[in-house]
Protein backbone atom coordinates (compact mmCIF):
# COMPACT_ATOMS: atom_id res chain seq x y z
CA UNK A 1 0.00 0.00 0.00
CA UNK A 2 1.44 3.35 -1.02
CA UNK A 3 0.59 7.02 -1.42
CA UNK A 4 2.25 8.84 -4.36
CA UNK A 5 4.90 6.13 -4.55
CA UNK A 6 5.73 6.21 -0.82
CA UNK A 7 4.88 3.08 1.14
CA UNK A 8 2.73 3.82 4.18
CA UNK A 9 5.02 1.81 6.42
CA UNK A 10 7.98 3.99 5.32
CA UNK A 11 6.17 7.33 5.54
CA UNK A 12 6.80 9.84 8.33
CA UNK A 13 4.08 10.46 10.89
CA UNK A 14 3.64 13.98 9.62
CA UNK A 15 3.08 12.75 6.04
CA UNK A 16 0.59 10.13 7.23
CA UNK A 17 -1.31 12.78 9.17
CA UNK A 18 -1.33 15.04 6.12
CA UNK A 19 -2.74 12.28 3.91
CA UNK A 20 -5.20 11.08 6.56
CA UNK A 21 -6.55 14.60 7.08
CA UNK A 22 -7.17 14.69 3.31
CA UNK A 23 -9.35 11.55 3.55
CA UNK A 24 -6.80 8.77 3.02
CA UNK A 25 -8.09 6.12 5.44
CA UNK A 26 -5.22 3.71 4.68
CA UNK A 27 -2.78 6.39 5.92
CA UNK A 28 -4.85 6.65 9.09
CA UNK A 29 -4.70 2.85 9.33
CA UNK A 30 -0.93 3.08 9.47
CA UNK A 31 -1.19 5.69 12.25
CA UNK A 32 -3.46 3.29 14.13
CA UNK A 33 -0.97 0.42 13.69
CA UNK A 34 1.84 2.58 15.04
CA UNK A 35 -0.12 3.80 18.07
CA UNK A 36 -2.58 0.99 18.90
CA UNK A 37 -0.47 -0.69 21.58
CA UNK A 38 0.24 2.55 23.36
CA UNK A 39 -3.39 3.64 23.11
CA UNK A 40 -4.61 0.30 24.42
CA UNK A 41 -2.19 0.33 27.35
CA UNK A 42 -3.13 3.91 28.24
CA UNK A 43 -6.79 2.88 28.31
CA UNK A 44 -5.98 -0.27 30.27
CA UNK A 45 -4.14 1.76 32.90
CA UNK A 46 -7.12 4.10 33.20
CA UNK A 47 -10.02 1.64 33.20
CA UNK A 48 -8.31 -1.56 34.35
CA UNK A 49 -10.05 -4.13 32.15
CA UNK A 50 -8.84 -5.70 28.89
CA UNK A 51 -12.21 -5.76 27.13
CA UNK A 52 -13.08 -2.19 28.08
CA UNK A 53 -9.60 -0.93 27.16
CA UNK A 54 -9.85 -2.61 23.76
CA UNK A 55 -13.34 -1.20 23.22
CA UNK A 56 -12.47 2.34 24.34
CA UNK A 57 -9.18 2.55 22.45
CA UNK A 58 -10.82 1.36 19.23
CA UNK A 59 -13.68 3.76 19.76
CA UNK A 60 -11.17 6.59 20.28
CA UNK A 61 -9.38 5.73 17.01
CA UNK A 62 -12.73 5.63 15.18
CA UNK A 63 -13.59 9.08 16.54
CA UNK A 64 -10.14 10.34 15.66
CA UNK A 65 -10.61 9.12 12.08
CA UNK A 66 -13.97 10.83 12.01
CA UNK A 67 -12.24 14.11 12.91
CA UNK A 68 -9.04 13.47 10.96
CA UNK A 69 -9.56 16.74 9.10
CA UNK A 70 -8.78 18.60 12.33
CA UNK A 71 -5.34 17.02 12.78
CA UNK A 72 -2.34 19.31 12.60
CA UNK A 73 0.44 17.47 10.70
CA UNK A 74 3.02 19.79 12.29
CA UNK A 75 2.28 18.35 15.73
CA UNK A 76 2.68 14.75 16.93
CA UNK A 77 -0.29 12.43 16.52
CA UNK A 78 -0.38 10.70 19.91
CA UNK A 79 -1.02 13.71 22.21
CA UNK A 80 -3.94 14.75 19.97
CA UNK A 81 -5.33 11.21 19.98
CA UNK A 82 -4.75 10.84 23.72
CA UNK A 83 -7.09 13.79 24.45
CA UNK A 84 -9.91 11.88 22.70
CA UNK A 85 -9.02 8.63 24.46
CA UNK A 86 -8.85 10.09 27.97
CA UNK A 87 -12.22 11.84 27.54
CA UNK A 88 -13.81 8.54 26.58
CA UNK A 89 -12.15 6.71 29.48
CA UNK A 90 -13.17 9.36 32.02
CA UNK A 91 -16.77 9.27 30.80
CA UNK A 92 -16.69 5.50 31.10
CA UNK A 93 -15.36 5.70 34.67
CA UNK A 94 -18.00 8.26 35.66
CA UNK A 95 -20.62 5.60 35.14
CA UNK A 96 -21.00 4.14 38.61
CA UNK A 97 -21.95 0.68 37.37
CA UNK A 98 -18.66 0.49 35.45
CA UNK A 99 -16.74 1.78 38.44
CA UNK A 100 -18.24 -0.80 40.77
CA UNK A 101 -17.54 -3.64 38.33
CA UNK A 102 -13.93 -2.52 37.94
CA UNK A 103 -13.49 -2.40 41.72
CA UNK A 104 -14.79 -5.97 41.94
CA UNK A 105 -12.43 -7.12 39.20
CA UNK A 106 -9.45 -5.03 40.40
CA UNK A 107 -6.08 -6.55 39.62
CA UNK A 108 -6.70 -8.63 36.49
CA UNK A 109 -4.92 -6.01 34.38
CA UNK A 110 -1.67 -6.08 36.34
CA UNK A 111 1.17 -8.56 36.20
CA UNK A 112 4.01 -8.71 38.69
CA UNK A 113 7.51 -9.15 37.37
CA UNK A 114 10.02 -10.74 39.75
CA UNK A 115 13.15 -8.65 40.22
CA UNK A 116 15.90 -10.13 38.03
CA UNK A 117 18.73 -11.59 40.10
CA UNK A 118 16.85 -11.27 43.40
CA UNK A 119 17.17 -14.06 45.95
CA UNK A 120 14.05 -16.25 46.35
CA UNK A 121 11.69 -14.83 48.96
CA UNK A 122 10.49 -16.86 51.90
CA UNK A 123 6.81 -17.86 51.53
CA UNK A 124 5.60 -15.60 54.34
CA UNK A 125 7.32 -12.54 52.89
CA UNK A 126 5.97 -13.38 49.45
CA UNK A 127 2.43 -13.61 50.81
CA UNK A 128 2.83 -10.24 52.52
CA UNK A 129 4.09 -8.71 49.29
CA UNK A 130 1.22 -10.17 47.29
CA UNK A 131 -1.21 -8.87 49.87
CA UNK A 132 0.30 -5.38 49.62
CA UNK A 133 0.05 -5.49 45.82
CA UNK A 134 -3.60 -6.50 45.97
CA UNK A 135 -4.34 -3.58 48.29
CA UNK A 136 -2.44 -1.16 46.09
CA UNK A 137 -4.24 -2.29 42.93
CA UNK A 138 -7.61 -1.90 44.60
CA UNK A 139 -6.63 1.54 45.94
CA UNK A 140 -5.51 2.57 42.43
CA UNK A 141 -8.90 1.62 41.02
CA UNK A 142 -10.56 3.88 43.58
CA UNK A 143 -8.34 6.94 42.96
CA UNK A 144 -9.81 10.06 41.33
CA UNK A 145 -9.32 9.83 37.55
CA UNK A 146 -6.79 12.63 37.19
CA UNK A 147 -4.60 11.19 39.95
CA UNK A 148 -4.78 7.68 38.58
CA UNK A 149 -3.96 8.97 35.10
CA UNK A 150 -0.73 10.65 36.22
CA UNK A 151 0.24 7.62 38.29
CA UNK A 152 -0.30 5.27 35.33
CA UNK A 153 1.65 7.50 32.94
CA UNK A 154 4.52 7.64 35.42
CA UNK A 155 4.55 4.06 36.73
CA UNK A 156 3.49 2.02 33.71
CA UNK A 157 4.41 4.17 30.72
CA UNK A 158 7.56 5.43 32.45
CA UNK A 159 7.08 9.02 31.25
CA UNK A 160 9.12 11.83 32.82
CA UNK A 161 7.27 14.68 34.53
CA UNK A 162 7.93 16.99 31.56
CA UNK A 163 6.51 14.45 29.13
CA UNK A 164 3.38 13.95 31.26
CA UNK A 165 2.93 17.71 31.52
CA UNK A 166 3.19 18.05 27.75
CA UNK A 167 0.81 15.18 27.06
CA UNK A 168 -1.84 16.46 29.46
CA UNK A 169 -1.13 20.13 28.76
CA UNK A 170 -0.72 20.97 32.44
CA UNK A 171 2.22 22.48 34.41
CA UNK A 172 4.87 20.06 35.74
CA UNK A 173 4.00 21.22 39.27
CA UNK A 174 0.45 19.96 38.77
CA UNK A 175 1.82 16.61 37.60
CA UNK A 176 3.80 16.30 40.83
CA UNK A 177 0.91 17.37 43.04
CA UNK A 178 -1.42 14.81 41.41
CA UNK A 179 1.24 12.15 41.74
CA UNK A 180 1.77 13.06 45.38
CA UNK A 181 -1.95 12.87 46.09
CA UNK A 182 -2.16 9.51 44.30
CA UNK A 183 0.78 8.02 46.17
CA UNK A 184 -0.60 9.29 49.46
CA UNK A 185 -3.84 7.51 48.62
CA UNK A 186 -1.94 4.27 48.05
CA UNK A 187 0.12 4.75 51.22
CA UNK A 188 -3.08 5.39 53.22
CA UNK A 189 -4.59 2.17 51.87
CA UNK A 190 -1.51 0.18 52.89
CA UNK A 191 -1.54 1.80 56.34
CA UNK A 192 -5.24 1.08 56.84
CA UNK A 193 -4.61 -2.55 56.02
CA UNK A 194 -1.77 -2.80 58.56
Amino acid sequence: MAHAGVRYSDASESALMQWASGGDSAAFGELVRRNMRRGYHAALGLVGSHDDAMDLSQDAFARALNHAGRMDPDRPFYPWFYQILRRLCFNFLRDRANRRRLLDEAGGWIRHDPIVGAAPENPELRLQREDARRIIVRAMTGLPEVQREVLVLREFEGLKYGEIAELLDIPAGTVMSRLYAARRGLADALEEHD
Binding site: V32, H41, H50, L65, A97, H112, I136, R183
Partner: protein, 155 residues
Protein backbone atom coordinates in the same frame (compact mmCIF):
# COMPACT_ATOMS: atom_id res chain seq x y z
CA UNK B 1 1.41 22.76 42.83
CA UNK B 2 -1.96 24.00 41.79
CA UNK B 3 -4.07 20.94 42.67
CA UNK B 4 -3.41 20.89 46.36
CA UNK B 5 -3.36 24.54 47.29
CA UNK B 6 -0.79 23.83 50.00
CA UNK B 7 1.68 26.25 51.53
CA UNK B 8 4.82 26.78 49.43
CA UNK B 9 7.02 24.92 52.00
CA UNK B 10 4.80 21.84 51.92
CA UNK B 11 4.61 21.97 48.15
CA UNK B 12 8.38 22.00 47.98
CA UNK B 13 8.57 18.99 50.30
CA UNK B 14 6.07 17.05 48.25
CA UNK B 15 7.88 17.94 45.04
CA UNK B 16 11.23 16.83 46.45
CA UNK B 17 9.80 13.55 47.70
CA UNK B 18 8.13 12.76 44.38
CA UNK B 19 11.25 13.54 42.40
CA UNK B 20 13.35 11.49 44.81
CA UNK B 21 11.04 8.49 44.41
CA UNK B 22 11.25 8.82 40.64
CA UNK B 23 14.99 9.47 40.65
CA UNK B 24 14.70 12.90 39.10
CA UNK B 25 16.56 14.82 41.83
CA UNK B 26 19.77 16.79 41.31
CA UNK B 27 22.57 16.39 43.88
CA UNK B 28 21.64 19.74 45.44
CA UNK B 29 17.99 18.82 45.77
CA UNK B 30 18.91 15.45 47.27
CA UNK B 31 20.95 17.22 49.93
CA UNK B 32 18.04 19.58 50.58
CA UNK B 33 15.64 16.66 51.03
CA UNK B 34 18.04 14.81 53.34
CA UNK B 35 18.37 17.93 55.49
CA UNK B 36 14.61 18.29 55.73
CA UNK B 37 14.18 14.61 56.57
CA UNK B 38 16.82 14.85 59.29
CA UNK B 39 15.10 17.87 60.82
CA UNK B 40 11.43 16.86 60.58
CA UNK B 41 10.24 13.52 62.05
CA UNK B 42 6.73 13.90 60.49
CA UNK B 43 8.26 14.34 57.09
CA UNK B 44 10.43 11.29 57.69
CA UNK B 45 7.35 9.22 58.53
CA UNK B 46 5.57 10.47 55.41
CA UNK B 47 8.64 9.68 53.30
CA UNK B 48 8.69 6.11 54.62
CA UNK B 49 5.00 5.64 53.86
CA UNK B 50 5.42 6.92 50.31
CA UNK B 51 8.59 4.88 49.74
CA UNK B 52 6.78 1.73 50.78
CA UNK B 53 3.90 2.42 48.37
CA UNK B 54 6.38 3.16 45.58
CA UNK B 55 8.27 -0.05 46.32
CA UNK B 56 5.08 -2.08 45.89
CA UNK B 57 4.13 -0.40 42.59
CA UNK B 58 7.64 -0.78 41.12
CA UNK B 59 7.29 -4.45 40.17
CA UNK B 60 3.88 -3.97 38.58
CA UNK B 61 3.42 -4.02 34.82
CA UNK B 62 0.37 -3.78 32.60
CA UNK B 63 -0.70 -7.16 31.31
CA UNK B 64 -0.20 -7.64 27.54
CA UNK B 65 -3.07 -9.05 25.48
CA UNK B 66 -2.44 -12.01 23.13
CA UNK B 67 -0.57 -10.94 19.95
CA UNK B 68 -3.46 -12.05 17.68
CA UNK B 69 -5.53 -9.18 19.07
CA UNK B 70 -3.49 -6.70 17.03
CA UNK B 71 -4.10 -8.44 13.68
CA UNK B 72 -7.74 -7.39 13.51
CA UNK B 73 -7.43 -4.14 15.44
CA UNK B 74 -7.52 -1.68 12.54
CA UNK B 75 -10.31 -3.59 10.78
CA UNK B 76 -12.35 -3.37 13.94
CA UNK B 77 -11.74 0.40 14.21
CA UNK B 78 -12.84 0.84 10.59
CA UNK B 79 -15.95 -1.29 11.13
CA UNK B 80 -16.93 0.90 14.07
CA UNK B 81 -16.74 3.95 11.89
CA UNK B 82 -18.82 2.27 9.18
CA UNK B 83 -21.41 1.20 11.75
CA UNK B 84 -21.47 4.74 13.15
CA UNK B 85 -22.15 6.18 9.69
CA UNK B 86 -24.77 3.47 9.11
CA UNK B 87 -26.61 4.27 12.34
CA UNK B 88 -26.48 8.00 11.62
CA UNK B 89 -28.02 7.52 8.17
CA UNK B 90 -30.67 5.13 9.52
CA UNK B 91 -31.59 7.65 12.26
CA UNK B 92 -31.79 10.58 9.85
CA UNK B 93 -33.86 8.50 7.44
CA UNK B 94 -36.20 7.28 10.19
CA UNK B 95 -36.76 10.83 11.51
CA UNK B 96 -37.52 12.23 8.04
CA UNK B 97 -39.78 9.34 6.95
CA UNK B 98 -41.51 9.26 10.39
CA UNK B 99 -42.15 13.01 10.33
CA UNK B 100 -43.48 12.81 6.77
CA UNK B 101 -45.81 9.90 7.68
CA UNK B 102 -47.17 11.76 10.71
CA UNK B 103 -47.69 14.91 8.63
CA UNK B 104 -49.52 12.95 5.93
CA UNK B 105 -51.68 11.20 8.51
CA UNK B 106 -52.63 14.47 10.25
CA UNK B 107 -53.44 16.32 6.98
CA UNK B 108 -55.47 13.33 5.72
CA UNK B 109 -57.35 13.20 9.01
CA UNK B 110 -58.09 16.96 8.92
CA UNK B 111 -59.43 16.67 5.35
CA UNK B 112 -61.54 13.61 6.13
CA UNK B 113 -65.07 15.04 6.15
CA UNK B 114 -66.74 11.69 6.91
CA UNK B 115 -65.23 11.49 10.42
CA UNK B 116 -66.81 13.89 12.95
CA UNK B 117 -64.64 16.92 13.79
CA UNK B 118 -64.53 16.06 17.50
CA UNK B 119 -63.23 12.55 16.75
CA UNK B 120 -60.57 13.85 14.33
CA UNK B 121 -59.22 16.39 16.84
CA UNK B 122 -59.43 13.80 19.63
CA UNK B 123 -57.26 11.41 17.60
CA UNK B 124 -54.69 14.12 17.02
CA UNK B 125 -54.77 15.03 20.73
CA UNK B 126 -54.36 11.34 21.61
CA UNK B 127 -51.35 11.02 19.33
CA UNK B 128 -49.67 14.25 20.50
CA UNK B 129 -50.36 13.33 24.14
CA UNK B 130 -48.76 9.90 23.66
CA UNK B 131 -45.68 11.47 22.09
CA UNK B 132 -45.38 13.95 24.99
CA UNK B 133 -45.73 11.13 27.54
CA UNK B 134 -43.13 8.97 25.80
CA UNK B 135 -40.60 11.82 25.59
CA UNK B 136 -41.25 12.81 29.22
CA UNK B 137 -40.86 9.24 30.55
CA UNK B 138 -37.71 8.69 28.48
CA UNK B 139 -36.19 11.95 29.72
CA UNK B 140 -37.06 11.14 33.35
CA UNK B 141 -35.60 7.63 33.14
CA UNK B 142 -32.43 9.03 31.62
CA UNK B 143 -31.97 11.62 34.38
CA UNK B 144 -32.77 9.06 37.12
CA UNK B 145 -30.30 6.54 35.73
CA UNK B 146 -27.57 9.21 35.91
CA UNK B 147 -28.23 10.25 39.50
CA UNK B 148 -29.88 7.28 41.23
CA UNK B 149 -27.66 6.31 44.21
CA UNK B 150 -29.32 2.88 44.46
CA UNK B 151 -29.08 1.82 40.82
CA UNK B 152 -26.08 -0.44 41.48
CA UNK B 153 -27.82 -2.36 44.28
CA UNK B 154 -28.81 -5.80 43.10
CA UNK B 155 -32.20 -7.13 44.08
Amino acid sequence: MTDKGNEPGLERQAELMMRALDEELTAEERAELENRLAEQPELRAEWQRLSRAREVTMGMKLRNPPEEVWDGYWTSVYSRLERGVGWLLVSIGAIIVGSWAVWEWITALLQDTETPVAVRYSMIALFVGLVILLVSVARHRLSVSKSDPYKDIQR
